[in-house]
Assembly symmetry: C2
Homo-oligomer: 324 residues x 2
């Protein structure tokens, strides 16, 4: 594990946590991202209960979510459903119901009941946040899940040739990284996400597909503003294995530049990355450590992740030797 | 309103309620029956919260429930769903979800999401009581709803010619009342219903279809035994308008004889019936009063029903003049 050069430490120490910094004593931890990656982080930190908030990307347009979005005007529920499922710590009647897939002969075959419930809530014009609240109650999930916006929008990109493309699927199919990303139509961030960031003691980004999970929430100016105003340390959790698609061509330093283009120079305080991903040009504290699960090396191990975050927080107080 | 002959009053006074008898101070009120009728009573008494228990008939084999039961071995959810819906006092996200029916083009059209949820719970082999618990949580319903049995069974009848017929639908289609009713296969009552009856301060039967909603729970010997052991007054709430089918041919006295054939002579303490239904041969306290809703005269008005029950209970204590 690489130790931090001194000039990076002051960045990490920008925030005086309101309480002693041990992870379990933080008042509010906020993660941003989507899909399996952030679901894993939320699951690792779920012991924080309602003090944990996940701001979830809602621009997915693949799979059944994509088909649904073609016929209905709704936010993309895929990443939210994924996070909800990963926050189920103990299978309950509610979670078995939510995950149930109809089988056997008949018109319902293959339909997932959780999807049907979310579809019905959409058609009922229930506020997405209220819909999530209902499902959280049913699944006994304490952490808050906030869609980045309650309005439908698509991830768009400008290619190096100057073309505009629309939709996560198109972005993932690019041969080379785009020159920039934006949302169309522009939509407002959900107010509760801005509030959560304003109260944050620790902000985590990722892991996950860089262009289609990690970056979309940062394309909302209000969320970037709230992060900019926050004194909480901001940690980017990089992927454990290179991702396919154009984002796989970015090294850690380039990913940090993308983040800083949205958040401002110096706003990313630390990067957690696997040992193989050392990169001298990363413009902040880089912590290289093995965080993969023993049996699923591309997935973050919950305990290891918590341990590293815990050490990182204690480092801020000087109460333990530096991580590394 | 007919006043009670003296020799009936002692029957009503069999139970010394554990607390002052005003309705809202009872520890446990138990209703038995099914469908719209009992749902209405539960709704009227829902202010009792968790002190109210409904033991619900589960032998319905008509409609979508019936089609479902032909392909799956499950209890009939129709009456339970009806009671759940009627106990929703304020529309919530959960209740709108449970009642949602898919529309528009597509394979889901016409399906009710509540039915799909109950179907999924059945296929997951969730205990019916746990399934009800989940839905009650979602709908913020405090009163307990107990299926009379957690095992599938059918209502059967012997006709005056000595034939046996199976299924509620067949019973409803008889030209003349059957000579007796039974369940096939025999199934055990749910233990929680026996418990509820043992703790009851007041037991209510009906209203509803006499043969197919009111009587089925009384075909379970354990429930009749529990009612027999109870000191709680037992009130039969008759229908406000004659029902179609063979039960419509029974007068109040005959209905009471059917009840007493199951429960034992003298166990029914009082009958609430509309003014038109006076019947001198009713073997217990008969209270004739107008209980219909002003706009829907076949439905019990919640407030009037509560008022009459309240007066009936106070009558037991001699603290108010007799109802009538």
């Amino acid at each position: 594990m690489q130790t931090a050069p001194d000039h990076h430490l002051h960045l990490l120490a920008r925030g005086q946590p309101r309480r002693p910094a041990a992870l379990s004593q933080l008042n509010r931890v906020v993660t941003l991202g989507g899909g399996h990656g952030m679901g894993r982080v939320l699951s690792a930190l779920s012991f924080l209960g309602s003090r944990l908030s996940g701001i979830v990307t809602t621009t997915d347009n693949g799979g059944s979510t994509g088909r649904l979005r073609q016929s209905q005007s709704c936010i993309a529920w895929g990443d939210l459903r994924n996070c909800l499922n990963q926050l189920v710590t103990e299978p309950s009647t509610g979670s078995r119901l939510f995950e149930y897939r109809f089988s056997g002969p008949g018109e319902l075959t293959g339909h997932n009941l959780g999807n049907l419930m979310l579809l019905a809530l959409d058609q009922l014009s229930v506020r997405p946040l209220d819909a999530i609240g209902l499902i959280r109650d049913m699944l006994h999930i304490e952490p808050q899940l906030l869609p980045m916006s309650e309005y439908p929008t698509d991830l768009c990109a400008r290619t190096p040739c100057g073309n505009h493309i629309i939709g996560e699927l198109s972005v993932d199919q690019l041969d080379t990284p785009p020159t920039n990303l934006f949302l169309h139509p522009p939509v407002p961030a959900i107010a509760e996400a801005i509030d959560a960031l304003q109260q944050a003691d620790l902000i985590l980004l990722g892991p996950g597909s860089f262009f289609t999970s990690v970056l979309p929430p940062l394309l909302l100016p209000e969320l970037c503003d709230a992060i900019g105003r926050s004194h909480a340390p901001l940690v980017f959790i990089a992927n454990l294995v290179p991702e396919p698609g154009p984002a796989g061509q970015l090294d850690l330093a380039e990913q940090c530049r993308w983040l800083e283009a949205q958040l401002g120079k110096g706003r990313v305080d630390a990067v957690l990355a696997p040992s193989a991903a050392s990169d001298a040009k990363v413009p902040c504290r880089l912590i290289n450590c093995e965080l993969g699960e023993p049996t699923l090396p591309h997935r973050h191990d919950r305990e290891r992740l918590c341990l590293v975050l815990e050490q990182l927080l204690l480092e801020l107080q000087g109460s333990l030797p530096q991580v590394g």
